[in-house]
């Protein structure tokens, strides 16, 4: 193709009377009816200077949900990235204003669906703060077990999908196999695999069945072997290191200013973990370490999350050892359902059951915000009560939403394939981002 032909095909006819660019006309083949095209004066038709606009998503295997990234590319280097979200916006916060507190727990499963039981715990903590309730010791330890199991589940999904994005398929299968074991445990406890609705305001939906702790200990004993296996395959692998080191670097000050939290923030070297800095559920009494990275790149995020998996197992071991006997729910009939045996035999318990189910527990006027360390970052539920059974405002502070906002900063100057790796390293869940 001669240079002359290239010029004809690429140049536009310039601007129209209103100063808007004119529609690019199709060049016909017969030559006779082709519009005479002149480049605007002073602007050279230049192949090298043109940027390409590429659209990734919203349906895409590697975006981890319905995320749309519009990338402006100079060759294969990203010049600008514009993320579009909202493709999974389902009106959680609106619907929270029309549901009682115990009913909202079912919604908390679905927004960050990888950390369902952790979200249940986070909401229950916030609601109990709003009600002014202290839960029992057994309930606290069970909730710690739930949170850490949830953290392991979420990090395993992240690990599996992150590996697939980089190109390694086998760790995905290993990770999901371990997840099936946790699913079986959770299903024995709560009844559901993924959407657990495990907590209630004032306690848990159910106590663990007998023999459950043996299953947990079995898991604690065998899980580190899988971690060692994945570690052997990935951590010092030249391809892995080559594809992840130096990508998406966020300095500590940038990370704090962009509001990153969780492993994203800790990989940049900032030592902020809600379990250590603003503890809940007696986390200060557990002996665990918080991994903090140095470079803030994708590789450090991988290392931080991997180490968190090991630390979670350590916490689970301690929780399993210290689980006290006793009731799992508090003994407050205005808030929590009475035991079934009482509700079907005593009149007063039946009335309490009726009131809690039909009207719902009513907190005093006030508001609360309790933040927990979800696998994605600082997760919090801000609830405002006006004294009725349904909150005035239920706000979900979504860690992935704030983490994802930094992606334009992180991918600038990197290659197209790095965009996928960086996006995967943020560990986003679109359900939480769009709510």
């Amino acid at each position: 193709m001669s240079k002359r032909t290239v010029e004809v095909e690429l140049s536009t006819s310039g601007l129209d009377a209103q100063g808007r660019p004119q529609r690019v006309p199709l060049v016909t083949n017969d030559g006779g009816t082709a519009v005479a095209l002149e480049p605007p004066p002073g602007v050279e038709p230049d192949l090298e200077g043109e940027h390409m606009l590429i659209n990734i998503g919203p349906q895409h295997p590697a975006t981890h949900g319905v995320l749309r990234l519009v990338l402006e590319l100079d060759g294969e280097t990203v010049v600008r990235c514009i993320p579009h979200i909202g493709y999974l916006h389902c009106g959680f916060e609106k619907i929270g204003e029309y549901r009682q507190y115990n009913q909202i727990i079912c919604w908390t499963d679905r927004e960050d669906y990888l950390n369902s039981i952790g979200n249940n715990v986070a909401f229950a903590l916030g609601a109990e703060r709003l009600f002014g309730i202290e839960v029992t010791e057994r309930c606290k330890v069970l909730r710690v077990i739930a949170c850490e199991l949830s953290r392991i589940m979420s990090h395993l999904v992240w690990l599996g999908t992150f590996c697939i994005d980089i190109g390694a398929f086998t760790p995905f299968l290993w990770a999901f196999q371990r997840r099936e074991e946790i699913y079986r445990l959770i299903e024995k406890w709560v009844g559901a695999r993924l959407t657990t609705s495990a907590t209630r305001v004032g306690g848990m939906a159910a106590d663990i069945p007998s023999g459950w702790m043996d299953g947990l200990r079995q898991f604690i004993r065998t899980f580190p072997h899988t971690l060692d296996e994945i570690d052997r395959v990935l951590t010092r692998n030249a391809i892995w290191v080559g594809r992840t080191v130096g990508l998406g670097v966020m300095t500590p000050d940038e990370a704090i200013n962009w509001g990153l939290s969780g492993p994203m923030l800790r990989a940049s070297g900032v030592d902020y973990d809600v379990r250590k800095d603003f503890p809940y559920l007696d986390y200060e009494t557990y002996d665990f370490e918080v991994p903090v990275g140095t470079n803030g790149d994708v590789y450090d995020r991988y290392l931080v999350r991997f180490e968190e998996l090991r630390q979670s197992v350590h916490i689970l071991q301690q929780a399993a050892d210290r689980l006290p006997d006793g009731p799992v729910n508090i003994d407050d009939p205005r808030v929590i359902l009475p035991p079934k045996s009482k509700a079907t035999s005593e009149m007063e318990s039946m009335i309490h059951h009726f009131k809690v189910v039909m009207e719902g527990p009513r907190p005093p006027i006030g508001e609360s915000y309790v933040a927990v360390e979800s696998p994605k970052g600082e997760k919090g539920y801000y609830m405002v009560s006006d004294g009725t059974a349904k909150p005035v405002r239920w706000r979900i502070r979504p860690p992935s939403f704030v983490n994802l906002a930094a992606i334009p900063k992180m991918v600038e100057g990197h290659l197209l394939s790095d965009v996928i790796a960086i996006n995967a390293s943020i560990d986003i869940v679109m359900g939480e981002i769009d709510r």
Binding site: V66, L173, F176, M430
Partner: protein, 208 residues
């Protein structure tokens, strides 16, 4: 292939005097056997059901034994669109476009309560059932459905595929929505079904 827009019923019927001979029936069997046992899914996974779909595809439940391990994220190479998860209104034109990009033969599985009917999200943001915007063959209930449930739905689809006949001329035509509304269910029916009714109003205890 889901609901018809105009209300006609499309049935597959065998007339005793049909001209199908031995070759045609063997060919039907072969073609349907090939299609049913190698349905390449296009996982349109949005939310929690997508995670259960991934668990179904992973080693414990293993979709590979049904020939479905090759996930086709390009709709051009896919056979069955598995809509796993809730579809908000913002995503509606996307799933419509993906469905249009899939070449025949194609089927659709609506996985989960949210894709089938809007699920627990009866609000301003969620499509109350994707069968309003694309034709659905199999609905799999559950929130999320267990992997066994999804596999049962896939088996139902395989039975449906195996019962197709080449002599049924219209079966592989592209099913178009109603031209005036661009929807697969008449708008008055959608509006009527969209109103909460009966006991569902009391279930939420808010009257809404």
């Amino acid at each position: 292939m889901g609901l018809t827009a105009s209300g006609e019923h499309r049935t597959v019927s065998y007339a005793p005097e049909s001209q199908e001979g031995w070759v045609a029936t063997r060919l039907d069997f072969l073609v349907n056997w090939g299609r049913a046992n190698s349905l390449w899914p296009m996982p349109f996974g949005t939310a929690c059901c997508a995670i259960e779909f991934m668990a179904t595809a992973a080693s414990d439940f293993d979709l590979a034994r049904f020939g479905m391990e090759r996930m086709s994220y390009s709709p051009r190479q896919a056979d069955v669109l598995i809509c796993a998860g809730r579809v908000p209104f913002k995503l509606a034109p996307i799933i419509r476009r993906i469905w249009q990009q899939m070449p025949q033969p194609k089927w659709c599985i609506s996985m989960g309560a949210c894709a089938s009917s809007g699920g627990m999200f009866d609000n301003y943001a969620v499509v109350q059932g994707i069968d309003t915007i694309i034709p659905v063959d199999v609905y799999v209930p559950g929130c999320p459905p267990r992997p066994e449930g999804l596999i049962y739905g896939i088996r139902m689809l395989q039975e449906k595929v195996k019962n197709e006949r080449a002599s049924d001329k219209g079966i592989r035509d592209e099913m178009e929505p109603d031209p005036s509304s661009q929807l697969y269910i008449p708008p008055p029916v959608i509006d009527e079904l969209g109103e909460p009714f009966g006991n569902s109003v009391n279930q939420t205890r808010s009257g809404l």
